[in-house]
């Protein structure tokens, strides 16, 4: 053993969440960290071991790669390709104009149409995008936030038009606006009306589409913005509580909506820290729902999640190593009892995934299901002294962070002031410094670099000007053909309902059905709510 390894052995090690990791764990550590009290059985409160007793025996996790680009016809083809290759759910990427409520003929949309996701202007586009896809067999997750209420209305209207009973329709919308203010940035309206819109969707779905999950609270992007794994989960719980509080203020009983809240979490870094994060989080969320909200239905206490490999762990350098990283992330996700999995593809640091790279991600998950025995036994790491101790310690850490947020006035206040943003961005800076200096090892980046990096290690997804032209023409054709009196009547109702504090979902559904565009509906809401002004704080 050389001196360097010797001294490394003696140095205390901490995981990213700031918890010391010991070289050896015994039963005494489990006891000292709180014992086995929160472990329980899978499928039973507090669900630390998983929300279902049989877990993947009954059904493996849903495979839901993020996809979408160009116009709806291009995306429909990609969807069909992924389904033909064994994907079991869809995870829809929208372009930036759609995400922030602009029509494709808006001057600000120029050069951005269909670039990072598919472009949606009206219901007609959704009809094309999901044409030929059985929405009962394939559940659809819409990665949309600022414009979520509009796109949910559009999805429900499309499904209804196709003949589905929306009372039975499953699916998810991301619709977590609070995290958009922290990271990702596709906000439109100020904080308060944005939360109200989330509440409108929860309230509307509870009555009209009770199997639809209107919100997927995202620790994922908060982690990408610089949060630690413990903060990722703690902040997500604070945000979910803010939405739950809004629903309760409207008079909704907790058991009528809590079961449809879901989560989206990130995976990169220390394997055990991640697995324990998820086990700890499940126990903590169940406890919060039961003790603080008086939930009685088990489903209301479930931390249901999509947990996938995060872009934050992938590197620009030696991109093929990202395939290996992705496989470890998928393994972590399976060991953590996820309901749904998505992996960032190996070329994600460069471009939106090609068919080839998307297929590799899908095959990575299929390998785990078919060859590695991951679906046979629930929560296979339970009972390990290390895992149970770290699960307890991660839970204590999350509780500590949530108490800090409460002490500072709550998550809504902190997001409005920009203090959470400043905190995670300071941490991102410190981490980048550690990567630059080599203190935090990244293979291919600050150690084991190739002498000569290849110039074009990945194939690029090209921007297609023609797609943008077709999209704009399609929108203009709809504007010419639709019943414009009906559209303006629906938009007037939308403005009125927004101004009067009524739930805007019925008016949105009516407007969508009249083929009002995303931009037109957003404008009405901006007229009432105003626009968000970003607090710049360092």
């Amino acid at each position: 053993m050389n001196d360097r390894t010797k001294s490394a052995l003696l140095q205390p090690k901490f995981n990213e969440s700031g918890i010391e990791v010991k070289p050896l764990y015994t039963a005494a550590d489990v006891e000292a960290s709180g014992g086995m009290e929160m472990v329980g059985e899978p499928g039973q409160y507090p669900f630390t071991r998983g929300i279902h007793r049989e877990m993947y025996r009954k059904q493996p996790w849903t495979m839901r790669q993020y996809a979408g680009f160009g116009n709806p016809a291009d995306t429909n083809q990609r969807f069909k390709y992924l389904i033909a290759n064994g994907q079991t759910g869809l995870n829809v990427a929208f372009d930036l104009p759609t995400q922030i409520g602009l029509d494709s003929d808006d001057p600000l949309a120029e050069g951005e149409i269909g670039r990072v996701g598919m472009s949606i202007d009206t219901l007609r586009d959704f009809e094309i995008a999901f044409d030929g896809i059985d929405l009962k067999k394939i559940t659809v997750s819409l990665t949309i936030n600022g414009a979520a209420a509009i796109l949910i209305a559009m999805y429900l209207a499309m499904a209804e038009k196709r003949g589905y009973d929306i009372k039975d329709l499953r699916g998810t919308a991301q619709n977590d606006i609070l995290k958009e203010f922290i990271g990702r940035g596709t906000w439109i309206f100020p904080v308060e009306p944005s939360i109200r819109l989330v509440g409108d969707t929860i309230e509307y779905c509870a009555t009209h589409a009770p199997k639809y999950s209107p919100v997927s609270v995202c620790g994922y992007h908060i982690r990408e913005s610089g949060a630690t794994p413990a903060q990722e989960m703690a902040y997500a719980f604070c945000i979910a509580k803010a939405y739950a509080d809004d629903a309760i203020r409207r008079g909704l009983p907790v058991d009528e909506f809590a079961g449809r809240l879901s989560y989206n979490f990130n995976i990169f870094g220390n394997i055990f820290e991640q697995v324990c994060k998820f086990r700890a989080g499940r126990g903590l969320w169940a406890k919060i729902m039961k003790e603080q909200y008086g939930a009685e239905k088990p489903g209301s206490m479930w931390m249901r999640m999509i947990a996938g490999g995060g872009g934050g762990g992938l590197t620009f350098e030696q991109p093929e190593l990202n395939i290996v990283r992705g496989a470890y992330y998928a393994l972590i996700s399976a060991l953590s009892g996820t309901q749904t999995m998505a992996l960032c593809s190996y070329d994600e640091a460069y471009t939106i995934p090609t068919e080839y790279s998307a297929r590799i991600s899908l095959r990575t998950m299929q390998l785990l299901i078919e060859e590695m025995g991951l679906t046979e036994t629930v929560d296979p790491l339970a009972g390990s002294f290390y895992v149970e101790t770290m699960t307890n310690e991660m839970r204590h850490k999350m509780e500590e962070i949530m108490a800090e947020v409460d002490a500072q006035g709550g998550i809504v206040k902190m997001v409005s002031e920009g203090s959470i943003q400043a905190k995670v961005s300071a941490q991102a800076y410190q981490m980048q410094r550690k990567i630059d200096s080599g203190e935090f090892p990244k293979v291919g980046v600050n150690c084991y670099r190739n002498e000569q990096e290849e110039d074009h290690p990945v194939e690029f997804h090209d921007y297609n000007e023609e797609d943008a032209r077709v999209q704009i023409q399609g929108l203009q054709r709809i504007r010419a053909e639709r019943d414009n009196a009906k559209v303006s009547e629906a938009l007037t109702r939308l403005r009125g309902d927004a101004a009067a504090g009524r739930n805007v979902m019925p008016a949105l559904v009516e407007a969508v059905k009249a083929y009002a565009s995303v931009g037109e509906m957003t404008k009405e809401l901006v007229n009432v709510f105003g626009r968000y002004r970003e607090p710049i704080r360092f």
């Binding site: 951005e112 670039r115 990702r184 350098e317 471009t351 961005s425 991102a428 980046v445 690029f460 710049i536």
Partner: protein, 133 residues
């Protein structure tokens, strides 16, 4: 007074609709630690807004952080606006997700400093210190 005698003033802009600002904020902090005065614009700036802020704030360096692939169309619109405002003599820098095949086009548009993802923070700051007119 030249830049070497006073604090270097940098505009750091987030062009277009992209919301990925983790990198921009990290670079802003690095620039502040390097002793520069940093004007960070926040998200969703148009070319007109970038040019106006650069002029009003009388910055020495105009830098952009672009992550979602629209750097070329954006810079093509920005260049004539910067020129029309007499900002040709400032140092133009761009960082982010910038594929190697676009670097020549960016250089031709006047962006002398190009820092694709993976660039070190000190490399960016050292370059600005050295190249600022």
């Amino acid at each position: 007074m030249t830049a070497s005698q006073r604090r270097i003033k940098v505009l750091l802009g987030k062009p277009g609709l992209d919301g990925h600002d983790q990198g921009a904020k990290v670079v802003a902090r690095a620039m502040m630690d390097a002793g520069f005065e940093v004007i960070y614009t926040g998200l969703r700036q148009t070319p007109e807004q970038i040019a106006r802020i650069a002029l009003e704030e009388d910055v020495d360096v105009i830098s952009l952080s672009s992550m979602a692939g629209s750097h070329l169309p954006f810079c093509r619109k920005l260049k004539p606006l910067l020129e029309a405002n007499g900002l040709n003599d400032k140092l133009w820098v761009i960082g982010g997700n910038l594929p190697a095949q676009d670097h020549d086009a960016l250089r031709e548009l006047g962006f002398k400093g190009i820092f694709p993802s993976g660039s070190k923070l000190d490399a960016i700051c050292d370059y600005i210190r050295k190249e600022t007119p």
